[in-house]
Amino acid sequence: MKEKHEFSWANLKSGLRLMLWGFFKKVVIADHLSLYINDVYAHPHSSVGIEIWLASAFFAFQLYCDFSAYSDIAIGAARTMGFRLMKNFDRPFTAKSFSEFWNRWHISLNTWFRDYFLFALPFGKNKKWMKFRVHLNLTITVMLIGLWHGANWTFVLWGGLMAFYMVFESVTRKQRTALVHLIRLDRTPVLLGYIQMLLVFSFMAISPILFRANSFSDIGTLVLNATQSGTFFSSFAILKNHEVVYNVALILLLLWIEFIQAKYNFVHWLDTKSVLLRWPVYLLFILCLLIFGVFNEQEFYYFQF
């Protein structure tokens, strides 16, 4: 049970770097995205078409950046003192299926629920009903995860939607494989992978409306306004808005940095370079954080859960 945690320079450096990345994700990306999102969700009646779709997609990234930043800062702080904590997010937006998404998102919570709740539920001995029991148990577990976020029916509904995605994915596996074969997408696995990622993201990005909206009536208003044909095409004018362009640029930057890190282990590469290269990179990062950060006391979103 007892483990010795000794101070090491390598841990200090790596921990501080992780914390810096966490702060960057929080104050530069998440908090900036929240400015646009808050505006849309505060005025559900006056928001229309693409504005709402964008807010929804941005919120998926805000949630990810905010919470993964919180985790990174905690993991980084622990690492500076010699503690190694488990990874909590593993590039969830690269998931090609809903079940994979849940293996990459809030890993600590989901593994806990999987190991101590889902696996503890009875699956029954009747093979005929086994599949049904698996899906039922999964639904109960995911809805409970939803409820963990707050005592509000919107969270339960969100959990239900997530469960529906996963059950649907499991039930239609054969048909989807056949369809992919039929349209010959299996011959271009890279393209197939990107389509799967886009589909998973699109469905995951719709669901946060339930997570973010203030009430059921607001959800109704937002869904109605988002799909109204009369204003849908005229709302595309917002894409020229420099705030929207900036938000999209921030998201692309996030995805690019995560891609570079995963593919080439940028941090390890940087570690092998001299201070003449490392220090300017760190300085640039810190100054960008200061210039582009939003410093108006926005709490971590997950503090409320």
Partner: protein
């Protein structure tokens, strides 16, 4: 040995970071901020050798609505979004640190003047740090974060100000907004349908607030009255003209009678404080407005002429 080397490296990095911070702070304050309207006004106001009979403080209702060239012997030192707290500190600075001789201080007195939303709406701290005592303000508002805001404004003014940087580097019209002794003419026409639609939405939030008389703003307003009284300055509160549409809309949200009654109670027994009411002056002239509650250049000229006449009457004891 290894440990000492690492300590030197950490110190070296911190020094480098401080140097970069100082350079950016200097650049922001002296180059980026210098292009802003507020800073341009500051430079002009303190550079002009003359004294002014009328000094206008307050928000954009004044900044866009009063032409000092017409008023005569006046300087329009108001600025967009300026609240009562900021006006107080600016006036205090002018009285204590400049050698300007003033007779009248003019402030707008609108339905939004004491709105609680205005109380926390501070922007451009790097500019306001010259005037505002953030430590005192933090204590008054019991909000520690304001103290740190002040520290940031003093030593890391650029932090979080990417929008200002963006405007500085990419805006075509930077530093070119027309200013006439601090007055910034606007040329929009509220009569056009588009302007009507856009701006009604914009103002929704402000007027939906229920806190029309914020304690902090009232407290600082009393400080302004005391400051004027102690320095023998006459304070003129101006209820600015608004469009009929705006007035009707706000009347449904605000108990105007009660609001003005409370203001009158605050002003009771105060010497040399005058209220001039022009709210309904241009009800039939939507073309004098840039938006529902801001005059355009044409309206500002008409209004300034009227204000001049009334201030002269006031001076001759005939308000």
């Amino acid at each position: 040995m290894q440990s000492r080397k690492r300590t030197y490296k950490i110190l070296g990095f911190i020094i480098l970071l401080l140097l970069a911070n100082t350079a950016l702070d200097w650049f922001y304050k002296n180059k980026v901020m210098a292009e802003m309207i507020n800073s341009r006004k500051d430079r002009e106001f303190y550079r002009l050798q003359e004294d002014f009979k009328y000094l206008l403080l307050g928000d954009s209702h004044f900044q866009n609505g009063v032409n000092p060239m017409i008023l005569g012997n006046a300087y329009n030192f108001s600025s967009a979004n300026e609240n009562i707290i900021q006006s107080y500190y600016k006036l205090k600075y002018i009285i204590e640190k400049s050698d300007k001789e003033l007779d009248y201080i003019l402030l707008p007195l609108d339905l939004s003047t004491f709105n609680s939303i205005r109380s926390d709406r501070f922007k451009y701290h790097a500019y306001w740090i010259k005037y505002i005592n953030y430590y005192e303000l933090a204590r008054h508002k019991k909000d520690k974060s304001l103290f740190f805001t002040g520290l940031f404004a003093r030593y890391m003014s650029y932090a979080g100000n990417y929008e200002t940087f963006y405007r500085y580097f990419f805006s075509e019209g930077k530093g070119r907004s027309q200013l006439i002794l601090g007055y910034r003419p606007k040329h929009g026409d509220f009569k056009s349908k588009k302007a009507r639609k856009d701006i009604t939405q914009l103002h929704e939030e402000l007027y939906q607030s229920k806190h029309w008389l914020d304690d902090d703003l009232i407290s600082y307003f009393k400080r302004i009255m005391d400051l004027c009284e102690n320095n023998s300055l006459k304070l003129v509160l101006v209820k600015m003209p608004v469009s009929k549409q705006h007035h009707e809309k706000i009347s449904k949200v605000v108990d105007m009678e009660n609001y003005h009654q409370k203001i009158n109670q605050i002003l009771a027994d105060k010497k040399d404080v005058y209220v001039l009411d022009y709210q309904t002056l241009f009800f039939e002239h939507d073309n004098y407005f840039n938006n529902p509650d801001h005059l355009n250049a044409r309206g500002a000229d008409k209004f300034s002429a009227q204000l001049k006449t009334d201030l002269e009457k006031l001076e001759h004891g005939n308000p």
